[in-house]
Amino acid sequence: MPLAGVRILAFTHVAAGPYCTLQLAALGAEVIKVESSTRIDLWRWDKNRDPERSLRFIDHNKNARSVTLNLKTDEGRALAKELAAKSDVVIENFAAGVLDRLGLGWDVLSRGREDLILVHMSGLGASGPRSAYVTYGPSMMAISGMTHLWNQPEREEPVGSQTSYPDYLVGSYAAYAIVAALVDRDMEGAGREIDLIQLDVVETAMGPAVVAAANELAPVGPKGNRVPDAVPHDTYPCVGGNDDWCVISVATDDEWASLAGLIGGAAAAPRFASAAGRVAARAEIDGIVGAWTRERSAHQVFEACQSVGVAAGVVATGRDLMQDRHLAERGFLLEMEHAAMGPVKLPGLAFRFDHDPLPTWRLGPLMGQDNVYVLGEVLGRSPADIARLESEGVVK
């Protein structure tokens, strides 16, 4: 495991922070999540309001260890500081200034460990006119320009997405930044404090559009699913109504010939044989393709197109993903047993190795599940001392 021997101490909650440490855990790092029943991670609150029965929590916190420290107590904060001194990386996404107020800021933690890497994931940065603003993933989408761009061009009102996609961008990017900072540490012998500004990461994910705008190279606006130089290249309706859509993307004349062979009839017209001819007849072709897809399910369109070498896909629902034969065969869908929920099915990750085994997955921890390991083995506290910390509400 490439990150074996690296310990990450995480003061993170909700999606972005845990999605970051999930990647690092998958690469072999030990992740210790500091949480507390006095301030429960929002991600633990699923519909049922039981913090031990949240699927999204046990998914995003796979392989993390949980220690419950009450940071409202002096001793809780002292234990957190001790843990930081035994960690390679500390990552946090408190509101701006909270870490300092807890007495766990860079000045303090870097005295305990000079080569520490401390990562803040602030929304808009530590300084500047709007630095203290409260932001979530969807706010990042709005402020960055992504909401404006993520739309069908014919629709004036910006839509963006109901998702919190920026949280996942920021989470995976933060994991990459930590790997890069570990390399820097190993080269330079020194740690550092990283203010990973979430807005900065979202702009980076739209790099080409940002560079086009910043240098006035091209107009930057919503484009939807179409591209200027290829037809068909869009989403098409299928037989099952609004839950059933497919995508088809034809890049070459040969691919069009294959698709036209499947569709037959009007699709065979010679004037559609060239890309220029198809671009000129975009509406007509989209109509022909849409009439063909409307009589089939997205799965049928997908398999029929792929069988003749045409790029096509199902606009997959959660059910499609859960029942996908490819994802199942690749072991991407993890079937596991949870202490409170019984059998659960969760997604895996984006990468895997050919030779090293995948991590042995553990579901996201019960609250305080690893108190004995963290306080006993990592910090060397005796069982009696741990019992005292629990009875005094320090470990809570």
């Binding site: 969807p138 993520w150 896909g313 959660g318 190795f353």
Partner: protein
Amino acid sequence: MTAQAGGGASGTTRPPAITSRPRVLEISSPITAAAGRFLADAGAEVVKVEAPTPGVAAPAVGEALALRLYRDTDKRSITIDLASAAGRAVLRRLAPNFDIVLESGEPGWLASIDAGWDALHAANPGLTLASITPFGQWGPYSHYKADDLVVFAMGGMMFVSGVPELPPVIAPCEQGFVAGGIHAAMAALACWRATRLRGSPGEWIDVSLVEALAAQENTITNFKGGSDFTRREGSQHRNGNPGRVFRCKDGYVHLLIQHDEQVWARFVAWLGNPPELQGEGFETLLARRSKADIITETTARILLTRTREEIFDGGQEAHLPIAAVFSITEALADPQVVHMNVLERVPGGGAAGPAEAGYRTLRPPFQRGRSLPARRPAPTPGQDTEAVLAELGLGADEIAQLRRDGVV
């Protein structure tokens, strides 16, 4: 994992355990170029292998130029014709000199030109190969074709994006490639670090773009059986009331009021305590869900009377998660973004056209506050062919012959 993980507390800085940055060969495609961008941001030396264009290539303009300037700043470019036997021989000779190779060919393609994992690993056991493809290296769909549109659809992100009355819609800027690129760069850099620190062998990393997207957004865990899965609802957030984009006097804003009862109370006060939102039934998020229509209508009516700036700054002053909806141009001009200094100037000299005079691109987000070497302008295709081949030990005669034969 043992209690020693992470080492003990240290009072001294360590001697450097790694002494050079990774050398990366990007067998170039829109997919690998995204991963190569991230590695270059961490200081890796990235060489792009591109296909030679016959005759004089027209310089990129417009969006294509923006793409090149963003993705390829700091990289060097060599052109090799990988369709020819001689070009493939050059690739086989070059590749083992690198620490990380990025490729996105159809599974089996690299092996078919004798430069697959087995050959590369035998030639250089410390080399890490990142294969980044739509569906991964194996499995029933591994040979299926897909571009960004197909990947975004198959990964489950498209179905939950867009308004119900229009077709589902893709995110801007090839997010499937971005997600795959981040994960590939992360895994490859971690593997390379392990080879340097511990002498571990290199790895073959299999990154699936579809899986990179399917792991996100709880699309899978939100499926509760039957037809109970998340559907697209425009900008309406699952757990927010209000939680969507609203029109205001001079533009649009985004509001997300979720669980916290104090936030709800502050929100109602900030709206001016409208009578529609008083009384019973607003106590909890769950209760407010059944009042979603009246909450949304009332919010929409009041916000129409205020400007975007008033709402953004005034809402935040009340500690409410309220955001302006900016275009990218507006975002770049925003005082906070200007203060953050997200852009930096790259000197001219690279890709022809406007780039000759220099241009502005994004500063790597995690390098904030560090002094880094000056950035190298994005190269024209093949600009560094001679230099790179010479560094890797090819003689001047050999290079000249390859050029005459149209191989490079």
